[in-house]
Symmetry: C2
Subunit: 382 residues, 2 copies
């Protein structure tokens, strides 16, 4: 295997009702001024925590995240300016992927004059001065354990990544209680996003036995629990399993990352601003089908892990795997065709052009995706 | 599930030939004076690295670990005194469990006047001043990713644990190349120790779905690779899989820890100074058999993960699991009876008394182990 480098949050806490642990964590780190970034409707859920933090003599400033869709560099700068006026020694992010990404960047740039545009790419950040705590409220993004953050560059409208070990939280607190009120549609879409993180890591050219551990575990947990969480949001074991699965997917992002599905979804998201998870879910079975000639053995291993009926024929097993994943997506109420979500067939070539720019993910795909292939994949799910 | 707290090394690197990365890591951390703790015959293997470190303008002091069996507090103090004369800003441990445990403690107490006896127990250490890097040379201990260190207290002859997040390395570098020359006997014994870490975490009363991920993965990797590594030490994929499995076992130690097997092995080790892995291996199937009434469903899950033939009867599946693990141990050349390793039957009650003192692990066992039970288990494997 190739050498794999993994970075982890300093501390990971997982459990129902553990969310308030950020208060003690900040106190133990001698933090005085805590910036809490969150969004509606989560403020209501964490109100008792904010009160407890004030009682614990932490100076807390709340910052409202309110941006529809992917956050832009401009919006980040607005929040950053407000954060810097407060001058936090800890940043606590409570939210979905976008909120956590912004919280990570606010902490990383706290007390620094670096322009956000100079941070795009890998390893551009300086060591972080502020303590960072992330609490995910979707099961989903995996941002709570990944060294990545994604912003839309206001200058050219492109989604760009910032990757740095200084984006890993000092503490990640996974309390599935915070996900219990997530609507079925967002549960389904974010859950399928987590599944993509795992499947794309497992079929990745950079796949390796360490990260396979997280990927396979995530796939199994999602396969067994996503539909339950979608059908009944109050199903605690299912919510908890999904929260863990999402974290497993997030652990795949740093060392291996995604491949064809996320690359092609950039085309969809760029043109139509579809929710990130929905765009990925729409593409996952078709990209797996496209990858089958190169990844049948891997898909066959997934089939075995899922307990599907398997044979000695890895192509058969791979088909069972793709069918099972497509079936899960459909059962969760995810549309299965681009036409259903308003995509126009004539836009497909332009979407393919956009996807072709995402070379950093395309190179991870087990089978080369040409522009023509991308068009064919979009057409296959049209 | 109960809330689980996990701490990780800051960075984990895994790969064949990656060992020399400690040099860059220390340089990047601005370290100037590096203490390297290792032992024969590993010095030969890392000689090129020591030369490269000197060329990279690191001031390196090598410290020889040479203690037969479990390290004592007295021996630690001898090494600590020598280390402090050098005054390292980084400690690099390259070795098996004992070497890594000592390296972790040397780093933790570097620049501190704390007596080692005052550190026993949980959470007694102050924040670490020195950078700590661990490179395991057995696949085995898991110490490279655990917050634990074990010493024999010279005052009362008891094995005692020191547990603290400040014992987690800043970097863990897992290079299976360093394990390629490990003799078959040590490969087998340390490999079975790693298997115990995983099985004991999985059948533990504190088992939880996050740590299950590591435990199950470790069990599967060991089941598929240990015998290969024992039979042919040059089998690179098997060595690599074992190195990863050992790390998985180590990740179980902090948040869940071991239970009945390790508790009873303290009795064996205390009385007979058997190698730690051998003592555990001798006891594992018998303790699983004892736990079967409470843990059949868990063992059944292991059977499925191992790809054994399973039925709807979880007790049957559990028996298949225990047989498979006992069979692996025997195939690896591990003695299956205490009499074979020189244990006297009349000492069993005294061993049981010693095991009964290990309450911190006994409470983790899924079925209560009384003194009489302990005697019966020792007799069962006599």
């Amino acid at each position: 295997m190739n050498t794999v480098n993994m970075s982890f949050p300093g501390k990971v806490t997982v459990g129902m009702g553990c969310a308030s642990q950020w208060i003690d964590f900040c106190k133990n780190k001698d933090c005085k001024k805590v910036l809490v970034l969150s969004t509606d409707p989560i403020w209501d859920a964490i109100k008792p925590q904010l009160d407890a933090a004030a009682e614990a003599k932490l100076k807390v400033k709340t910052l409202q995240y309110a941006w529809p869709g992917e956050p832009t560099t401009e919006y980040f700068n607005t929040l950053h300016k407000e954060a810097e006026r407060f001058g936090p020694d800890a940043v606590v992010g409570v939210g979905g992927g976008s909120v956590l990404d912004i919280a990570k960047l606010l902490a990383a740039l706290s007390g620094r004059r670096t322009a956000i545009e100079d941070c795009f790419g890998n390893g551009k950040l300086q060591p972080r001065k502020a303590v960072l705590v992330c609490l995910p409220t979707t099961a989903g993004t995996g941002s709570e354990v990944s060294p990545n953050a994604i912003l839309l560059d206001a200058k050219d409208g492109e989604k760009k990544g910032i990757i740095s070990p200084y984006l890993l939280p000092d503490a990640t607190i996974v309390d599935a209680e915070l996900t219990m009120t997530l609507p079925a549609k967002i549960t389904a879409e974010t859950g399928m996003d987590a599944l993509c993180h795992c499947v794309e890591a497992y079929m990745n050219v950079n796949a390796n036995p360490v990260v396979d551990t997280f990927a396979l575990r995530g796939i199994v947990l999602i396969y067994k629990n996503l539909l339950k969480a979608v059908k009944d949001g109050r199903n605690r074991p299912a919510r908890e399993a999904m929260a863990i699965a999402s974290m497993m997917g997030g652990l795949c992002l740093g060392p291996v990352n995604t491949c064809g599905v996320h690359a092609l979804s950039y085309g969809l998201a760029g043109k139509y601003h579809l929710p990130h998870g929905l765009a990925n879910a729409l593409l996952l079975p078709a990209v797996m089908e496209f990858n089958k000639p190169k990844a049948a053995a891997r898909f066959s291993e997934i089939s075995r892990a899922l307990g599907l009926e398997t044979t000695d024929d890895s192509v058969c097993n791979a088909e069972a795997c793709i069918d099972a994943i497509g079936g899960l997506s459909a059962a969760c109420g995810i549309p299965q065709h681009l036409a259903e979500v308003g995509v126009k067939e004539e836009d497909i070539p332009e979407m393919a052009d956009m996807a072709m720019n995402v070379t950093r993910l395309l190179v991870n795909n087990p089978r080369e995706i040409t522009r023509e292939d991308a068009i064919a994949i979009y057409r296959a799910v049209y």
